[in-house]
């Protein structure tokens, strides 16, 4: 590692030429060592070997979070009464508890990728949840809106309740507009994102209380009333077991075919591609994970009435994951996001509209937070002023960083938010099962966050930002 540090740390002065020349072979050797393994390996065996070299070299990718998740699972499974932690009912419950963290972490990733932070997304999410919930309320005495134009009548469906999809679109647009406002202030007025979103944290909290009015909350019920039940079902609704299996088969087939033929095509053209064994292993892993999820969810977990099937939250989270993964890793916009996060000056000189990218990052951050808000209000059966948006945003940052997204920009993927959010959810769920109070949950989460950031800082110092966009 010493060689790598030399290369990263000290740029020899021009008159240092002889010393530099002597060091050169060493530099090359060190550089070779940290190349992502999938790039040079020709077979599965070589891949595993190269991968272990990279992990020992300090760039572990998602390995720490997968390890942490496994460790948490094993510990809680052993310690929880009657091994209830891994029971199907608890696993589904764990996911439902985690889905807000997961989506918020994916939201925060957009800011973190640029080396920025968005502290406001907890309350922006709350605003999103409230807007959707309000628009499906029946007009009447219980109606929470107390300000100006909204008073008792909701434009443009005057006197009517909005359909669920219109309420969701409105909520997400409101959140995107909030993000655009943040982005505008950050990029055009050049106020640091930390300050702008801290102001947003306070201001949107206030706006939320203002909208909720004296009643202090808005409910969405599971009753088949208007379209409220659909918002309620976002988390609590279940997919029919048979449909779940069919959907899984279709998804694995499509994804597997796309991965297999994509990699095979690249190998044929002599382009950099993973060995066939690795592609097959990835597809097998996806299939196995999918089968496990559907099988677990299809076990009857009801206490009195039968409850079975994959919760809607699973496809919702997977959809967000898929869309943001494609956006970040397969589109020009995503490439520019990574470039701005890695070296904003290089991006600017390459003709990239850096301000535009940064603004869009905050728009997407708040937009995704809006999705998390919908899930939160579904989970809670509504939204009230008790929501702790400050804690939520810290969990979002923690989840993203635990998952492997760098706080320093340029490194991170949507899947990191999913893994990190699951880890935090598992810690919460497990400590709750063991009867620990909230103070222990906070301490445990804090320690895990600290460990994650330390790993991030160490790997950055050691190997540079090696896991790039495609890695």
């Amino acid at each position: 590692m010493a060689g790598v540090e030399d290369e990263q740390g000290s740029k020899p002065a021009p008159d240092d030429i002889v010393a530099e020349a002597e060091a050169a072979p060493d530099l090359t050797a060190a550089a070779v060592e940290v190349i992502p393994p999938e790039i040079v390996a020709q077979s599965l065996g070589q891949y595993l070997k190269a991968w272990s070299v990279r992990v020992r070299g300090g760039d572990a990718g998602i390995l720490p979070v997968v390890g942490a998740l496994l460790a948490v699972t094993i510990v809680f499974q052993i310690m929880s009464p009657k091994g209830v932690f891994l029971s199907p009912g608890n696993l589904v419950n764990l996911f439902i508890q985690s889905c807000v963290f997961i989506v918020l972490a994916m939201a925060e990733s957009f800011a973190l990728l640029l080396g920025e932070i968005d502290l406001s997304i907890g309350y922006v999410a709350a605003i999103g949840g409230i807007v959707a919930a309000l628009f499906v309320q029946s007009p009447g005495p219980s109606f929470g809106l107390s300000i100006g134009p909204f008073n008792g009548q909701v434009w443009p469906f005057n006197g009517q309740v909005w359909p669920w999809w219109a309420a969701i679109i409105a909520a997400l647009l409101v959140c995107a507009a909030i993000g655009a406002l943040h982005g505008f202030i950050i990029t055009r007025l050049r106020v640091p994102a930390f300050i702008v979103t801290l102001a947003g944290y306070l201001a949107w909290f206030g706006v939320m209380i203002l909208i909720l009015g004296p009643s202090g909350g808005v409910n969405i019920s599971s009753a088949l009333l208007n379209d409220q039940h659909i918002l309620f079902q976002l988390v609590w609704g279940n997919i029919d077991p048979v449909i779940g299996w069919i959907a899984l088969a279709v998804m694995v087939g499509l994804l597997g075919g796309w991965m297999w033929f994509g990699d095979a095509g690249r190998r044929r053209s002599g382009l950099v591609a993973p060995p066939p064994g690795l592609t097959a292993a990835k597809i097998a892993f996806v299939a196995a994970a999918g089968i496990a999820v559907v099988a677990i969810c299809n076990v009857n977990r009801g206490l009195q009435l039968p409850v079975e099937g994959v919760p809607w939250a699973v496809p919702i989270v997977l959809f967000v994951l898929a869309v943001w993964t494609v956006l970040l890793e397969r589109t020009e916009f995503g490439r520019h996001m990574y470039a701005v996060g890695g070296n904003a000056e290089a991006a600017r000189r390459a003709g990239i509209n850096v301000s535009g990218i940064r603004t869009m990052a905050f728009v997407l951050c708040s937009f995704t937070a809006g999705i998390a808000g919908l899930l939160y209000s579904s989970q809670q059966g509504g939204m009230n002023t008790n929501i702790n948006g400050g804690q939520l945003v810290l969990y979002a940052v923690a989840a993203a960083v635990i998952g492997g997204t760098s706080l320093f920009g340029g490194r991170g993927r949507a899947i990191h938010g999913v893994l990190g959010g699951l880890t935090i959810g598992a810690i919460y769920n497990g400590l709750y099962l063991l009867g620990f109070e909230v103070q222990w949950q906070l301490i445990a989460t804090g320690l895990v966050l600290l460990a994650a950031v330390t790993i991030d800082a160490l790997s950055r110092r050691g190997a540079g930002s090696v896991s790039a966009a495609h890695a």
Binding site: E20, T28, P36, L271, A339, E345, A346, R349, G464, A468
Partner: protein, 285 residues
């Protein structure tokens, strides 16, 4: 044809004529890029004063000058990052205005900056196509970008990288410079500006980069190498232009200079060396 020096005129503070004389500097043909009377100031600091410069195709022009002479500012004016306050630019004889880096790129001017302007977290292909990605509808066309990048690197004989999918952070200084140069020439560029291409490089890596510069010239490109390393300049340049305190004090074929005269021009803005006199002597306006 003589060395054109402006030491006298500049010292007197008078505007410097002499465009006609300079126009013949490139062996009688119109230079690819011609700058005339470029002024640039930042606040109270006059960074460039009435600068004339010719960059002919198929030749390497070495731009020399001490720290603060205005080399980087002049480069950035050509690259569209700064706009000159006054002055004219001609591209193949046509008057042009370069207002943005995009304008420069659309003309075929590419710049390799001193700080390399590569994103460490992206791989070689991603860096080479940065800002000009190829896409099918919304999705990036990685396959065609990877093929094109590989071809460009091969044509420049850059073969030391293990894989073009490795992140730039894992490359050595010389390899990074090679990627930056390859990035610049990938776009059918006609003029490549290299800002201190060998600073912070070892002997072997410097040689590799200088070979690369010669290859660009052999491909018929106009190349400008900004350097205060005279060894490098004398190794690759066909012509030398020397800035001193924002003024172009000398500009001519390599053969009319020797190291001492270049150092004199760089440090004092003038030279009394014999080699100059034998060429034709400083022109006095």
């Amino acid at each position: 044809m003589g060395v054109t020096t402006y030491a006298e005129g500049a010292a007197g503070g008078a505007p410097v004529p002499g465009s006609e004389a300079l126009g013949t500097a490139a062996a009688g043909t119109e230079p690819l890029l011609k700058l005339r009377g470029i002024d640039k100031h930042f606040g109270a600091v006059q960074a460039l004063y009435q600068v004339d410069l010719d960059l002919p195709a198929g030749q390497v022009t070495g731009l020399c000058g001490d720290n603060g002479a205005g080399k980087s500012v002049l480069t950035k004016c050509i690259a569209g990052i700064h706009q000159p306050d006054h002055g004219e630019m001609f591209w193949d004889g046509r008057p042009i205005h370069i207002r943005t880096p995009k304008d420069a790129a659309s003309l075929g001017i590419e710049t390799v900056y001193q700080d390399l302007a590569l994103a460490d977290n992206l791989d070689i292909v991603q860096n080479m196509f940065l800002g000009r990605e190829r896409a099918h509808r919304f999705l990036l066309d990685e396959d065609s970008m990877e093929r094109a990048a590989a071809e460009t690197l091969a044509s420049l004989h850059v073969t030391t990288v293990r894989s073009i999918r490795q992140p730039v952070a894992t490359l050595s200084g010389g390899q990074r410079q090679a990627v930056a140069v390859a990035k610049a020439v990938m776009w059918n560029s006609k003029l490549v500006l290299l800002d201190e291409p060998t600073a912070a490089l070892g002997v072997a890596q410097t040689k590799m980069v200088l070979d690369l510069v010669r290859r660009l010239r052999d491909h018929g490109l106009a190349v400008m190498v900004i350097s205060h390393n005279l060894n490098d300049v004398f190794e690759v340049a066909d012509r030398i232009a020397i800035l001193h305190l924002g003024r172009m004090v000398a500009q001519d074929r390599l053969a009319v200079f020797d190291r001492q005269s270049v150092v004199d021009f760089m440090t004092t803005g003038g030279s009394s060396r014999e080699v100059l006199a034998s060429a034709s002597g400083p022109r006095r306006d």
